[in-house]
C-alpha cells in the first residue's frame, strides 16, 4: 500500500511537471517551427536562480520563485527577439542557435555555482495524512500547482483570443497572417509563456529532486518524447502523452532497472513513429 501510494503520487507529480515543460516546447515548435534544444537548459537555470535568491540571498522562497519565473520569462522575450526571429525559416541555423544558447546557460551555471548538485529547501514542509495514506505536502503542492496551471492554460488556448490566435498560427501561419494576426507578437508571448512554464516546473522540481547543471538534458528528452507521442502541432494530446511518460518513469523502475525503463520509453516512441508518425492526436504528417 505504501509503495503504491508513493509511486502513484510521484507518477502524478512527474506527469504534471513533464506536461508543463513540454507544453512550452510544443508551443515554440508549432508556432515558430523551432526545435528548441535550449528548453531543458531554461528549465534547469530557473531552479538555480530560485536557489540563488532563496538560499544565497535569503529571500522568501515564494518571492524567489516569482522572481525566477519573471527573469526567465524576460529571457524568453530576449530569446524570441534576438535568437529565434532571425532564423524563422531556417531550421539548421535555428538548431545551431538553440545549442549555442544551451552551451552559454550551462557554462554560466558551471562557472557561477559549480558543477556540484544543489537542493532547494521545501516550499511547504510537512506530511499530509489521511487515514493510512501519508504523502509529503510538497508533492501535493507540486501536483496542484501543475494541475491549476494546466487548467488555466487550457482555458487560455481554448477560449482567450490570444490562445485562438496561437492555434491559428500553429495550423497555418500564412493564413493567420492574412487574417490580421500579428505573428511576431503572438510568438513573443508564446516564447515568454513557454519559458515561464519551464521555470515554474524547474523551481518546483528543484525542491523535490536535486539541481544539477545537466538536469536539463533529460527533461529536454522527456519534452521531445511527449511532443512526439501527442503529435507535432497538437496541444490537447500533451496531457495524455505526459501522463503515459510520467507513469512509465515512476512505476517501471519499481519492477526493473532504470536502463530498461528508458529502453521501454524510447522503444514505444520508435514504434509509434513508425506506425503513426503524426502521434496519437496529430492531424497530418
Amino acid at each position: 500500500m505504501e509503495t503504491v501510494i508513493s509511486s502513484l503520487s510521484s507518477a502524478l507529480v512527474l506527469s504534471s511537471m513533464y506536461i508543463l515543460v513540454s507544453l512550452g516546447f510544443a508551443l515554440l515548435l508549432s508556432i515558430m517551427g523551432i526545435l528548441n534544444f535550449a528548453h531543458g537548459a531554461i528549465y534547469m537555470v530557473a531552479g538555480y536562480i530560485c536557489y540563488q535568491f532563496s538560499v544565497e540571498l535569503g529571500l522568501n522562497q515564494w518571492i524567489s520563485l516569482i522572481l525566477s519565473v519573471v527573469i526567465v520569462g524576460l529571457f524568453g522575450l530576449f530569446l524570441e527577439k534576438f535568437c529565434f526571429r532571425p532564423f524563422l525559416k531556417d531550421w539548421f541555423r535555428a538548431v545551431v542557435m538553440t545549442i549555442a544558447v544551451t552551451l552559454i546557460i550551462e557554462t554560466t551555471v558551471n562557472v557561477t555555482v559549480g558543477v556540484y548538485t544543489r537542493q532547494l529547501p521545501l516550499f511547504i514542509p510537512g506530511v499530509f495524512k489521511a487515514g493510512a495514506i501519508s504523502v509529503s505536502a510538497e508533492r501535493i503542492l507540486t501536483f496542484i500547482a501543475g494541475g491549476v496551471l494546466l487548467l488555466l492554460l487550457t482555458w487560455f488556448i481554448r477560449k482567450a483570443k490570444m490562445g485562438q490566435q496561437m492555434l491559428a498560427i500553429a495550423q497555418n501561419s500564412e493564413g493567420a497572417a492574412f487574417q490580421g494576426i500579428d505573428i511576431n507578437r503572438v510568438s513573443a508571448i508564446a516564447c515568454v509563456m513557454g519559458c515561464a512554464l519551464a521555470a515554474i516546473a524547474g523551481c518546483l522540481m528543484g525542491a523535490l529532486f536535486q539541481l544539477s547543471p545537466y538536469a536539463g538534458d533529460s527533461m529536454l528528452l522527456k519534452a521531445i518524447q511527449i511532443v512526439i507521442l501527442s503529435g507535432i502541432g497538437s496541444f490537447g494530446g500533451i496531457v495524455f502523452a505526459g501522463l503515459i511518460i510520467g507513469f512509465i518513469d515512476a512505476i517501471l523502475p519499481l519492477l526493473t532497472s532504470g536502463a530498461i525503463t528508458q529502453t521501454v520509453g524510447v522503444g514505444i516512441i520508435i514504434v509509434l513513429l513508425l506506425v503513426r508518425p503524426q502521434g496519437f492526436f496529430g492531424r497530418e504528417v
Binding site: 526545435l35 534544444f37 532571425p86 532564423f87 531556417d90 531550421w91 539548421f92 541555423r93 538548431v95 545551431v96 542557435m97 545549442i99 549555442a100 544558447v101 552551451l103 552559454i104 550551462e106 557554462t107 558551471n110 562557472v111 538534458d217 529536454l220 528528452l221 521531445i224 518524447q225 512526439i228 507535432i232 532497472s257 536502463a259 530498461i260 528508458q262 529502453t263 524510447v266 522503444g267 516512441i269 520508435i270 513513429l273 513508425l274 508518425p277 504528417v285
Partner: protein, 330 residues
Amino acid sequence: MSEQQLSVKKQSRLVKPAIYAAVLVILIILPSIIQSSFLMYVFTLTLIYIIAASSLRTIALSGQVSLGHAGFMSIGAFTAGVLGQRFGWSPWATLPLGAFATMAIAIIVGYPFARLRAIYFSMISLFFGIGILSLISVFQKYTGGENGLVGIPSLFAGSYLANYYFFLGLTVISLLILWRFESCRIGLKLKSIAQSHLLASSIGVDETGYRVMALAVGCFFVGLAGAGFAHYNIAISTSSFNLIASTNLLIYVLLGGIGSFVGPIIGTVILIIIPELFRSLKSFSPYLSAGIMILVIFLIPQGVTSLPQMIKGWIIKLRESRYVNHDARN
C-alpha cells in the same frame, strides 16, 4: 573565350589540388614541428571526428538529417571495445568489424526509417541513438553499462606518432571514398531525392533504396570512426555518444557548411582545436565555442566554406555600384 581567360581557368583548376597537397604535407610534417604529445592527442581525435562529421554529411545529402549519429558511432565503438577487451580480439580485426556491424544495423533499421521524412526522420534517429545507449546500459555484463569499458587494446601501444599517422591515413582514405561516392551518379541521385522525393521517384530513382544506401555508407564510416575512437582512447563510456555528441556532430557540419564537402572538415577543426588552444580559460572555454557558433550563423549563413563566395559576391557588387556611379556621372 580568350587565351588569357583559358590560362586563368587552367590555373584555378590547379589551385585546389595544390592546396590539398600543401595541407597534407603540413599534416605529415606536423609532429616534428609540434613536440607536444597532448596536442598530438587532440589532432588525432580531430581526425577521428572529421570522419564522423563527413559521414553525417553524406547521409544529409539525401535529405535525411540524423540527430542520432553518435548513437551509430557508439555501435562501432562498443563492438570494437567489447570484442577487444572482453574477448581479447586483435584491434586489427575489431576495427573493420565495428564498421561492418554499424553498417549492418544501419541497413536493418534503414528500411523502416526510410518511411519517415524531414523532421520525423530526425526525431526517429534521435530516439534510435538514445535507445542504443540505453540498450548498452541494459547489457551491463558485457558493455560495463554507463561507465563503459576501460583497457581496450590499443592499435599502437603508447606511440602517439604511429597512432597519428595511422589515423591520418585512415581519414584521407575515408574522405577520398566519401568524395568519390558523392561525386558519382549515386551522389546526384541522392541530391535529387533531397530536393524533391516525388520528382526523383517519378523519373525512376529508387528513393528508399538510395536513402538506405546513403545511411549505410555514412554509418559504415561513423562505425569506423567509433571503433577507431575506442582503440585510440582506450576507455569509452556512453556519455561520449549521447544526444549532445550527436548535436555536436551536426554542428560541425552546419558550421563548416553543409553544401560543401570541405565543410564538415573545417567545422570540426574550428570547433575542436580552437577551444583546445585556449585551455587556459578552463571552464570558460564553452563560451568560446558558443561565440564562434553565434558569429558564424549571423555573419556567414551558409557556413565557413561559403566565405570566399560571399567575398566574391561583395566585390562584384562593389564593382557594379562603381560602374553605376560612373554612368550616372556621364
